[in-house]
Amino acid sequence: MRIDYAALAPELVITGAACLVLLVDLAVRGRTRVISGYIALVGSLLAIVLLIPKMFDAPTSTLNGLFVLDHFAVVMKIIFLAVAAYVIWIAIPPMRGHRYEGEFVFLLLCSVLGTLLMPSSRDLLMLFVSLELVSAPAFVIAGLRKVNPLSNEAALKFFIFGVLSAGIFVYGISLIYGATGTTSLAAIAASPAARAAHPPAILFTGIVFIVAAFGFKVSAVPFHFWAPDTYEGAPTPLAAFLSVASKAAGFVGLLLILYIGFPALAKFWGPFLGVIAILTMTVGNVVALRQRQFVRLLAYSSIAHAGYMLIPIAVIGSKAGVGSGSSNATLIRSLVIYLAIYSIMQLGAFAVAIGVSKQYPTLLVRDLSGLGRRAPLPALALAAFLIALGGIPPFGGWFAKFALFTAAIDAGTSLGLVLAIAMVVNSVISLFYYLGVVRVMYLGETPEAQDEGAVSFPRTIAAATALAFIGVVFVGIYPEPFARFADAARLVLHV
């Protein structure tokens, strides 16, 4: 059997970079250990470069259809790699001189490899392996600050929830395999059990289990409990990665399984996801209102955003003819746009948080007070990210929400309408806490006099923040190229 190594090139590059990091970290000592971060950075960028020509090639598949490289996969991989490069970049200053600097980079690259495999997987087992590859290294990274009890708690909670969800996922797979006799998504969709007028009951149970497992991954209510504690206790760059790449990988996996594997059962999972979406955004936003710690606030905000991002998948399910018509493509496109723009805003906010955390390790919202005077430029950027997350023009977020909203309305189903309205209501709620932080930054009094000095930002973090700021402004003012990029992300059912 021939293996299409060209299609696997980005994965191979990341694997190679990970192994190289392990070996190089073994050889170097002291300050030069920072080189592992740069190896990872170069690897990620090289993988992006290798992927770009694939944007213009026809979709290919290899390994008997187990691995598919369509344009959706290419676009998602580019997003994942960009996120990975950004996270590694902003992780260099806080991890510098850390005892496990090289191990951190290695584990992060393993996790990135999992995200890369996810959008190409067309088989339940492959999806399971990818999902575990995303999570397992992250368990360890969450516990890297070993002397910090919060970090231990973060790792333990994340681990227990993650392992439980893995078990539930496998159980779901076994039920589906029992009903259909296959693990290939296309074969499941074509199987008599899934197409029957009355599908076997365990197929529904299997879908519920799989949704629950991915619910943990994307931190959807009621599977979200781990997220705030883990984000708060883990090294902040990991929190950034978890809230963006790992979450996006979860959405991709969920979309692939439900959209490719169970189009015939859409009437079941559509409304089911709709309920979860409404619950998620509401709980996330309402609880975020009461948060005093900045990373926890971002965690709840990311839960709320997970609720928004469930909308397109739920609406696909609410439509009768799945796989037909352009509105499905529009919905998937809106999901891709949202994921991409959300990544920029969220990563930017985390970059500022990492910058501030050097002086204020606890990262309370109160610590940000007066940031507008003490670090005007980062404060301005953070304000932009928060306003963007709230969805107010001219910063990027409005376009993501707009795309999602119109796609949901255009689908023409009542579920789409309900979800679109729920999103608007929730966006208004979310403004309270986003703007609350902005208010503290510009109008808040610093509690102690000695805190009046300038907050110094490492140069790398400042540059990274600036980049995200430019991105968020650019997307907000001129979203056209971005939309074009997302337009290319066509999910192919059959190769």
Partner: protein, 161 residues
């Protein structure tokens, strides 16, 4: 009743009882032992249905390595001296477990209630190997990276700084 059917019922009962024992006993070591027994029962069921390789691999890996490491952990952490643990969530846990059981049992019975399962002769292991290293080579390699990451992670977490 045919011989394999009798064997099936005995093994199924054994597995179920030892699993119940695992969750009901308050003694950690007994619990680990019950888990090992239930895994052996499951392995025997695999073998009964012709998946000899999977069954024995299960014994080798789960019974021989994973549960033994539990025992190891119990012995090294001093839990061995005071092995009885309990918490006050038993009723709630029982309720959840019962609910999950009823849902799954109802689903499985309604989906497969009338189907007959054939007992098969052993699946050729050679074929398994071929499949693993051709079609499934990508997940196989991905798992090896996963294990490498787990290895590095375990060392990182276990090491005394």
């Amino acid at each position: 009743m045919a011989l394999p059917t009798i064997a099936f019922w005995i093994l199924a009962a054994f597995t179920a009882v030892s699993t119940l024992f695992t969750v009901l006993t308050r003694n950690v070591v007994h619990s680990a032992l019950g888990l090992a027994a239930s895994l052996i029962g499951a392995a025997a069921l695999f073998i009964l249905f012709g998946a000899q390789f999977v069954g024995l691999a299960q014994i080798l890996i789960y019974v021989g390595a994973v549960v033994i490491l539990f025992m190891f952990g119990i012995m090294l952490t001093g839990t061995a001296v005071r092995p009885v643990v309990d918490n006050d969530q038993r009723p709630a846990a029982a309720l959840v477990a019962l609910a999950v059981f009823l849902v799954l049992a109802a689903g499985i019975v309604s989906s497969f209630g009338t189907k007959k399962v054939r007992f098969q002769v052993a699946f050729p292991t050679v074929q398994l190997g071929h499949q693993l290293f051709t079609t499934w080579v990508l997940p196989f390699e991905a798992v090896s990276i996963l294990l490498l990451a787990a290895l590095v992670g375990a060392i990182v977490l276990a090491r005394r700084d």
